[in-house]
Symmetry: C2
Subunit: 485 residues, 2 copies
């Protein structure tokens, strides 16, 4: 075989352009198409039907009713008897900078790398994305629109003895299609210790059998759905954020839309050159000396466990709870598991400004205790306001976001975070126009103005852009093209 | 002030091209210049003079003669009384793939991010690099050519109460010059736990006072010196590897040189597209489930401590030892410290092949226990051959490298690893031409063909390319231009 290949290398060119086929135009065309192979009306019918036939039910239970889960003697860690899935342990974080120099908290440890993958295929010359109606116990409405594949390694190696993960072969096999994106991205650093998932987008040409829980949508349709509350799940949003840059898009529309379109254009300029942006990020990452040490869960001071809840004594931040899940179309039909339940709804907002007609968003280099490496770029504001009630120190720009005039709010929707690990973890995602008074061109330490295209370039690599900022990037991409209709 | 800026933004363009000024041509010109402001002859005179006036002396000492260092009760970790600098602890590594599934070892923990920085400035229109004649206790010849600045945070925040770090203000201040590179890169994952340093290249225009221990060299001169054994130190090599891509360079010369020149050209093709290369890397990083847990040094099985050495019972791998250092021009004039001493010289070699006239090197996605994230791209062969003597399993391609015919060896020099932490840690760095028989176009699992330009693009970001591969990249860049003379 190697000699055959050797002969081939002498006859045929084997080297190819490093960016051979521009998929940008085809993605842009899909983004501009809101009438796909399934009409949006039909989609909603189908989705309602999936919800009806699912037969899902969630019930809070005391920890003692968890099956297969227990508090490990000696550490108090909440673990599964198989040693797989995930565990809830303790974390002790110290840092030499920032408002909080030391804290303790429970944290989810799940060292496995999962796959979040969307399969893409052309129908009538337009790219469609294979999306799934998937139940997750932590979603308030249970069923949301997820990627084609959303699987932990335990899932697809069958540790849970459930059914196969559908379509997984398009992502784990070799030569199964063209890779449009494949990158390890972090998950919530406040709740997960060093967790990352593989975000994949794969294009195929051949026939793909369509299962009941799945449908093909254009990017334009998904963009419409991203304007609805609690419909497009977190896993979909992070994968969509990894789409390669697809150019300026709409150039009609108001100043904001035009500025946003230019912001998506890799040819457009920016306040910072790319090397200066990377340098700023490097200096932010070097600025902090963050030590995050795992500790036994029962040695986390200030947190108390009762029969159904591990919570902070002051009632802020989040609780660890347990649920029993009944599901019809999930891999196994009934199970129990722990979940993290935030005490209140969060906010994730980008302030934006247009400089020389190019939209910039104000990113914050944010420390989260569970990050693999100190900081990642986060939204301008990312917090649960209730956690700061009555406190003297409030996060920068929070009040500006809370009090923004309606005409400045360019995007506003509530989305759920990972429903397989978090219970009713909702964030209000906002894009808000600001001015020099609100947010100066020379931002405070820890903040920097970046274009949408610069964020997109960073997302080709892991650990630059956190999961909330990735959601906002997906939303920003969903906005530009809507104005084109 | 912000209102002034606000007014400015209305008058002047603030957005700039993301890659505004091409420095590539100027770097290429410096690489083609071997007669700098200091002739190479004068350089060697100056360097010999520095060596004479240094008055350095190194002596091995028993651990009991270390000042400020001791074995911590309870853990046996070797720590400094200040709690700063570094410590020697234990590491327990398990992985689910590869030839070694579990091992224990001592490891250096040094959480601080240091700065390795080279200052660059034009003289007579040619870029010169400010290099330092620096003593490091672990270098066999003590004095080597280091970056302008090579400082741990302890250094420049004066924990050791020595003198100031010269030129540090060009790297830590703001607005001090133009950033050409600024990225956190890993160090040796076999000896360091999660260590990374900030690799910086900064260009200035104004006058720079020249200290006795420093000299300005063109890139062409440094390239010549990179062909000598034990002269350009590791810190210099890793910083040089972070230089932005500077084009094809020499197009004369033999087939190999032309192929290497094309390999450096970002416009040239490659066997894998960039997205397929990133996808392959992501799959390699996901393929391993590596758990590296720090443990107390006195709980590392198979390793024994006597009065002057912590070593492996079978005499392989490395020892932890202690030295006393006397130095004239160092920040403090006498000190003691632990060092890691490898038991034998290592090899770091890239196999190369030319596909369609573009040189590719065979990179290996290698697990090292101390890496922040599972794998990084390493040379084709990276090991100490003595460690495998008498063993059945030998590293892939090792014998090929050891037995390569002289005419296939395109680069061959011995370089030292970090002399501040490692004693006599030398690697023989090799670039060796291979053919389809030796190294097929479809490489074995864990290996991939990449161009020099692809490596250079990855090095803009941290944790893709390990320190040995970065040395080889600096050597590959040093080769291409030499043939042009």
């Amino acid at each position: 075989m190697s000699s055959t290949l050797a002969e081939l290398t002498e006859l045929l060119p084997v080297v190819q352009p490093r960016e051979p086929v521009s998929v940008a135009d085809r993605i842009a065309a899909s983004a501009a198409t809101t009438g796909g192979s399934l009409s949006t009306w039909d989609f909603h019918q189908w989705f309602a039907e999936r919800r009806r036939t699912g037969g899902f039910r969630i019930e809070r239970i005391p920890f003692s009713k968890l099956r297969g889960w227990s508090f490990e003697p000696g550490t108090g860690n909440l673990v599964h008897s198989s040693g797989r899935f995930f565990s809830v342990e303790g974390l002790h974080v110290t840092t030499d900078d920032g408002p909080h120099k030391e804290w303790f908290q429970p944290i989810i440890k799940q060292p496995e790398v999962g796959i979040l993958g969307i399969l893409v295929k052309e129908f009538d010359g337009v790219l469609h994305f294979l999306m799934q109606a998937k139940m997750e116990p932590g979603n308030r409405n249970l069923l949301q629109l997820s990627p084609t594949v959303q699987a932990t390694r335990s899932n697809y190696t069958k540790v849970h003895q459930g059914t196969d993960v559908k379509y997984i072969e398009y992502f784990t096999g070799t030569g199964r299609g063209r890779i449009l994106a494949d990158v390890l991205q972090s998950e919530h650093g406040s709740w997960f210790y060093h967790k990352s998932n593989r975000n994949m987008i794969v294009e195929v040409d051949g026939d793909v059998p369509l299962d009941d829980d799945f449908c093909w949508l254009t990017l334009g349709q998904i963009s419409e759905l991203l304007h609805q509350d609690n419909l497009v799940n977190m896993d979909s949003r992070t994968v969509l954020a990894c789409l390669p840059a697809y150019g300026a898009g709409a150039v009609r529309g108001d100043d904001f839309s035009q500025s946003l379109a230019r912001s998506r254009d890799p040819e457009a300029g920016a306040l910072l050159t790319d090397v200066d942006l990377l340098s700023w990020f490097t200096s932010e990452r070097s600025r902090y000396d963050v030590r995050a040490e795992r500790i036994p869960l029962d040695q986390v001071p200030g947190w108390t466990r009762d029969e159904a809840r591990i919570g902070k004594d002051d009632g802020r931040w989040f609780n660890v709870v347990a649920v029993e899940v009944q599901a019809g179309n999930r891999e196994v039909t009934s199970w129990t598991q722990p979940l993290i339940e935030p005490c209140s709804r969060g906010i994730a907002a980008f302030l934006t400004r247009s400089f020389d007609g190019v939209l910039h968003v104000l990113a914050n280099a944010k420390v989260e205790g569970g990050f693999l490496d100190t900081v990642e770029l986060a939204p301008t504001v990312q917090c649960s306001p209730d956690n700061f009630e009555g406190l003297q120190v409030r996060p920068p720009f929070l009040d500006l976001v809370l009090e923004a005039a309606p005409e400045r709010v360019r995007y506003d929707a509530i989305h759920s975070e990972e429903g397989g690990r978090f219970l009713y973890a909702e964030n209000r995602y906002l894009v808000i126009e600001a001015d020099e008074q609100d947010a100066p061109i020379e931002p405070p330490t820890g903040y920097q103005w970046v274009t949408v295209s610069q964020l997109t370039a960073l997302i080709k690599h892991g650990h630059y852009v956190n999961v909330q900022a990735r959601t906002l990037l997906a939303c920003l991409n969903a906005m530009g093209h809507l104005t084109d209709d």
